[in-house]
């Protein structure tokens, strides 16, 4: 039989992804963002424990809109990564491993993360 070269579409961006796939890639992306935030967070720890004026300077630093946006850019992935991590742990003990419950837990994770992020957003602002 003559072998044919059939067209292959492996471009993930053109394929409609099921919600567990979205939940999974968001978990990965949020992890990468948090990784990049580590030095910044250690810096803040150092500043907060240096002298009282450094501590107060941090308070001022966080009143700026830029700092608040950066805070949100770190807090939102943290919330998501935390919730998606719980989803992973539940799957490790066989909760939510079937299709129906996997989709349900993926939706819950995403929606709950959005809600908590909005609440955190108000708190930050």
């Amino acid at each position: 039989m003559r072998s044919q070269k059939r067209p292959v579409n492996l471009n993930l961006f053109t394929i409609r992804q099921p919600v567990p796939a979205i939940a999974s890639i968001l978990h990965r992306i949020s992890g990468i963002i948090l990784f990049l935030a580590i030095p910044y967070l250690i810096w803040i720890l150092g500043q907060s424990l240096a002298t009282e004026s450094d501590f107060l300077a941090l308070y001022d630093h966080f009143t700026s809109p830029l700092a608040k946006i950066i805070t949100l850019i770190i807090v939102a992935p943290f919330i998501y990564h935390f919730l998606a991590g719980i989803r992973h742990l539940l799957m490790d003990i066989n909760i939510g491993v079937d299709l129906k419950n996997g989709r349900l837990s993926a939706w819950i994770t995403i929606i709950l993360a959005i809600i908590l992020t909005i609440i955190a957003g108000f708190y930050i602002w």
């Binding site: 990965r28 992890g31 990468i32 948090l34 990784f35 580590i38 030095p39 250690i42 720890l45 150092g46 907060s48 424990l49 009282e52 501590f55 107060l56 935390f82 991590g85 742990l89 490790d92």
Partner: protein, 116 residues
């Protein structure tokens, strides 16, 4: 099988377990820290600094950061292995990442050491 330049035969199961354990440690610390911040609105320098003078807090924090570094290492190793096929580039990035993580741990150690 993926041949890792940095690796001998990778104990995947151990990584899987440590990923979970480090996650739980970090979750516990985050909840405790969240509780502290929640119960100390308008946090003062004295309260914050006082917290970190406690030896237990310093140790818990260092354990948290060690867990964070290991957890981040496993996660980023997975990401690099998935997306960066050229072994030499991956090796460079992995070493750079390792260096960055170890430096952050030592930085935190120095910071906490200076709190009396």
């Amino acid at each position: 099988m993926v041949k890792t330049v940095l690796g001998v035969d990778h104990q995947g199961l151990r990584d899987w377990l440590f990923q979970r354990i480090s996650a739980l440690i970090m979750a516990l610390y985050s909840i405790c820290m969240g509780w502290f911040l929640f119960t100390h609105p308008h946090l003062t320098y004295g309260e914050w600094y006082g917290l970190f003078t406690l030896t237990g807090m310093k140790i818990f924090t260092l354990i948290f950061i060690a867990a964070l570094l290991y957890h981040a290492w496993i996660g980023m190793w997975t990401v690099f292995t998935d997306y960066i096929k050229p072994a030499s580039l991956r090796l460079v990035l992995e070493v750079a990442m390792l260096f960055m993580l170890v430096a952050c741990f030592l930085w935190a150690l120095v910071i906490l050491w200076g709190v009396n």
